[in-house]
């Protein structure tokens, strides 16, 4: 699995974004995942989202844990730095990185094993700290890279390829994120790019932690009948509460004015998410309602997707830390070292 970059023949015809970059400039190495793996579709959606957002690829830091899903950051935004850390601990690495340089955009990619099993503690604490990042879990209900054992998101009673039945309660990361105070919570499906791309765009623009649980079938180990994470099952039980378009508009407009089932959610930078409600009663600002709705539909075996909860003016970890506006990693020696005079005073106080 050596690192292959695709030949970047620049067709003058290719559409360019505001930075004059083409979609190609947002790609990465050739994927080494299984043909048909849901994760590759998510990588494609990420590429599309960043291309459309016209964010310079090298200003994005891509971090992950360990797993097939965690390998994917190699397959997009090749011009950005990546960090394939250790299993289940990506959140802490992102937290440190985000504190070191507040000017980069942080994208954390993880798997259900990586985030719901070994990584649950760090998942929970990064949510409550409100690190300014987009957190994507590529959720297939199994450990792909270790050949198909159940993960903590596998539904109770769901069958493994070799026939074993899962006997443990599944963890719903979306409900967990809500209870833990995440300020942007969504669920998507790798098979529905139309819904996923705007979700990612909105998440990237959201201040604080934006979590997207993306159901992403594992064709090698969890795409058989009897699996609730298979393409067929999710297509059949996909319960989208809303559809959204993202408009990086900068001038503020009057938001939260429901107009015929359409609602505008203004992001901190003035960008707007236009929500077309599919379920009139579903209000993405009502956490309690969201929890109830999720619990109810989960009981019916339905997969609720869409932008499930968003807070209007969230704060992030840098606010809590009251850090300076410039990245900490750019501070000069003069700003960092108190020097000998201060030291003399320190000594004097203790003499």
């Amino acid at each position: 699995m050596t690192y292959l970059t695709k030949p970047k023949l620049h067709h003058p015809g290719l559409p360019k974004n505001a930075l004059g970059l083409t979609r190609r400039d947002y790609e990465g190495a050739v994927s080494t995942l299984c043909a048909g793996c849901g994760h590759d579709s998510i990588s494609a959606a990420i590429i599309q989202a960043f291309f459309e957002l016209a964010i310079a690829p090298h200003r994005v830091a891509k971090l992950s844990g360990i797993g097939c899903s965690s390998k994917t950051p190699t397959y997009f935004l090749g011009a950005g730095h990546g960090f394939n850390s250790v299993h289940g601990r990506m959140p802490s690495v992102v937290t440190g990185a985000a504190l070191a340089n507040r000017d980069l955009i942080y994208l954390g990619v993880s798997g259900d094993g990586d985030s719901a099993s070994i990584g649950l503690g760090q998942f929970a604490h990064v949510m409550r700290r409100g690190v300014n990042m987009t957190y994507i879990v590529e959720n297939n209900g199994v450990y792909g890279l270790t050949k198909g054992q159940f993960s903590a998101t596998a539904d109770k009673g769901s069958k493994a390829k070799r026939g074993a039945v899962n006997r443990e309660e599944p963890i719903d990361l979306v409900q967990l994120a809500l209870v833990l105070g995440a300020t942007f919570v969504a669920r998507g499906f790798s098979g529905d790019k139309g819904q996923l791309v705007p979700l990612i765009k909105a998440a990237v623009e959201h201040k604080g932690v934006a979590f997207i649980d993306v159901v992403s079938p594992c064709v090698a180990f969890n795409n058989h009948p009897g699996s609730t994470k298979s393409y067929d099952y999710v297509r059949a039980h996909n319960e989208a509460v809303n559809r959204l378009d993202f408009m990086p508009m900068r001038q503020p407009i009057t938001a939260d004015v429901p107009q015929g089932g359409v609602e505008n959610v203004v992001l901190h930078d003035g960008g707007i998410v236009r929500l077309r409600k599919l379920h009139a009663e579903y209000d993405p600002h009502d956490k309690v309602g969201a929890l109830a709705y999720l619990e109810a539909h989960r009981a019916q075996g339905e997969v609720v997707t869409g932008l499930l909860y968003v807070e209007d003016d969230p704060t992030d970890l840098h606010d809590a830390q009251n850090t300076v506006a410039v990245p900490l990693n750019t501070l000069s020696d003069a700003e960092l070292i108190p020097g000998s005079t201060a030291l003399d005073a320190f000594n004097a106080a203790l003499a």
């Binding site: 011009a79 960090f83 937290t95 504190l99 000017d103 320190f346």
Partner: protein
């Protein structure tokens, strides 16, 4: 039995109950002696508990300026009935016992080779105060006053300290002075002079009385650290807490009031080291402070930092182990787990400060070394240096000194087309160049990973590329030897084929012990090791001697192991001197142990050691 008679050279030990407010009174006592110009070596001996258990404070008044414990107690201030018997037992023959005589005790509870100084403390308190809290608190100040009288400490000195302590709070100063006077006058009126006395000297000079955690935290500030991620654990918590205090003072943007630092109390040690690695990867100097259990939990991440070559600084304030062990006791038993942290083939850089001053210096230097070597650096402290106040030379800083960020490739260099291979040994020293994330639109981006890779950071499972990389890491470790603090070597007054080696807090007792040994005719050349990997000088020193005593505070002779492994030394010539009961080493212990072993190995013609 003749009562002990000593001026400016004796040990006072306070036996109290923790949470009873005795700590500040006892601290005042030590400070007062210092203000008299007489050095002290003080040790706080406390339980892993918040309130109600026995705690001791040992103050060695030592004109000669030794900083270690001597062993034995000359004057016991026995304020804890629960530990009375063991406390009385610990007094040296001819020593003194100060106690609260309000409730009479049977003669059987005393010793006839010990002089008793009785004071009806509670009675005096109850007479002077009605509020129980006041009684509780001022009792301590009253006995402080009595001791001042007994030992001839100038009351003006203590009153000055009170004013300093309660700056601006006049009523508090007043009430404390009153309590102090109560005790002082009582002593004047009732106590006969004893053989122990403190006389004014000028032996303290401009030395400062400070604990290593505070010093190391200040070192981190001077070392340019901007991110501290930690999880509370004794005895390291006060390091992170001191960093917060220093940052509030030195790192707040005067214009905006905003912070030039970030401090995260993480959810656990796995998260704190993860944050440190994330911050360091992203170009901000980052550190954590922890103790043994934390180091154990960080193992996987430390291996990542080694293999992915991330600068990260870890302060390990060692405590009694293994497992939860003795959280409030001191030990030097984390050497192996730090030196070879994580699974697989790894070797790490360790620094060994001997006192708070070096905690400050190495605390700053660690960050330069980490950036220069692009690898984790451990500052190996222990509870004895970290949480105890030590008398040190004042800290110094050369304002011409900047931060050495190591080999960082800039956007300009990349733009200019300089070749970049993240794991390419460009200079033959094993240290590659790195780029900070986001440096250049087209060049210098790479993928950081814990899996094996080639010189250009591309993932590979090729065996040759793997070996190539692992051997470069060994070259880098060789390079480290030349950059780390050199050992401090002193040759004995009399030429000898024997030597002594130690590191860290052990030095306090060693300095004194070596003199005692020399008096006994045991002359030893001396080497204090300050870093791992070991400089060539370490190997040479050992090669130059037939017998080398390796003095350390753990059971398994861990430093000795590392010396043998890394220097290919015949273990036969390294004689382990081990102390690991969790209490700070005493001069008496080391001297006795070395003298005995010296006899065994007939290191030198011997006269008996005077004791």
């Amino acid at each position: 039995m003749k009562p002990i008679a000593r001026v400016n050279d004796f040990v006072v030990k306070f036996a109290n109950v923790n949470g009873s407010g005795s700590a500040s009174a006892n601290g005042l006592f030590a400070k007062a002696v210092l203000k008299m110009g007489v050095p002290v070596a003080a040790r706080n001996i406390f339980p892993s508990n918040i309130q109600g258990l026995p705690t001791w404070y040992e103050v060695r008044i030592v004109e000669a300026g030794w900083r270690g414990r001597r062993g034995g107690v000359d004057l016991m201030v026995a304020m804890n009935p629960e530990t009375w018997d063991e406390d009385v037992l610990e007094i040296e023959p001819g020593g003194y016992l100060f106690y609260d005589s309000t409730k009479p005790l049977p003669p059987s509870r005393f010793r006839d080779d010990v002089t008793v100084v009785a004071m009806p403390l509670m009675e005096i308190c109850n007479a002077a105060y009605s509020d129980p809290r006041q009684r509780q608190l001022f009792k301590n100040i009253i006995y402080l006053g009595a001791l001042a009288g007994l030992l001839a400490i100038d009351p003006a000195v203590i009153e000055a300290l009170l004013i300093e302590q309660y700056k601006g709070k006049a009523p508090l100063v007043e009430s404390n002075r009153k309590a102090f006077r109560l005790g002082f006058d009582y002593a004047a009126a009732n106590f006969a002079a004893i053989g122990l006395r403190i006389e004014r000297r000028d032996n303290v000079g401009n030395r400062i009385f400070v604990d290593g955690n505070n010093a190391a935290a200040l070192g981190a500030v001077y070392g340019g650290a901007t991110l501290c991620a930690w999880y509370p654990i004794t005895p390291s918590s006060s390091l992170a807490e001191a960093f917060a205090v220093h940052c509030q003072k030195y790192r707040v943007d005067p214009a905006t009031g905003r912070h030039r630092f970030a401090i995260v109390q993480a959810e656990d040690e796995l998260a704190s080291i993860g944050m440190v690695i994330g911050g360091a990867w992203n170009g901000a100097r980052s550190f954590t402070a922890t103790a043994g259990p934390g180091i154990s939990l960080m193992q996987e991440f430390i291996g990542l930092a080694y293999f992915a070559e991330i600068p990260a600084v870890l302060f390990d304030v060692q405590r009694g182990s293994p497992s939860t062990g003795m959280p409030t006791k001191t030990q030097q038993a984390d050497l192996l787990i730090c030196a070879y942290a994580s699974h697989g083939d790894t070797k790490h850089v360790l620094l060994f400060p001997e006192d708070p001053k070096e905690c400050f210096e190495m605390g700053a230097q660690a960050f330069d070394l980490a950036d220069r070597l692009q690898t984790p650096v451990f500052v190996m402290m222990d509870l004895d240096i970290g949480m105890q106040d030590w008398l040190c030379e004042p800290f110094t800083w050369d304002d011409s000194r900047g931060l050495d960020r190591g080999k960082v490739m800039t956007a300009e260099a990349l733009e200019a087309g300089k070749e970049f291979g993240r794991y390419l040994d460009a200079d033959g020293d094993g240290i590659p160049f790195r780029t900070y994330p986001g440096t250049h639109p087209k060049r210098g981006a790479y993928f950081t990973r814990g899996t094996s890779k080639d010189r250009y950071a591309r993932y590979t499972e090729d065996g040759n590329a793997y070996v190539d990389n692992m051997q470069r890491l060994l070259r880098k470790f060789e390079t480290a030897k030349g950059l780390l603090p050199e050992p401090v070597i002193r040759t004995a007054a009399q030429s000898t084929r024997a030597g002594a080696v130690w590191f860290g807090s052990t030095g306090a007792a060693m300095a004194e012990s070596l003199v005692a040994l020399a008096h006994a005719g045991i002359h030893l050349d001396q080497m204090r090791i300050r870093a791992f990997p070991f400089a060539d000088a370490v190997l040479e020193f050992i090669a130059d001697h037939d017998h080398v005593f390796v003095v350390e505070q753990n059971r398994d002779a861990q430093l000795r192991m590392m010396l043998v492994n890394e220097c290919g030394i015949d273990p036969g010539k390294l004689i382990p001197i081990l102390h690991y009961d969790g209490n700070p080493l005493t001069e008496r212990f080391v001297t006795r142990e070395i003298a005995e072993k010296a006899r065994l190995f007939n290191v030198t013609p011997l006269r008996k050691v005077a004791r």
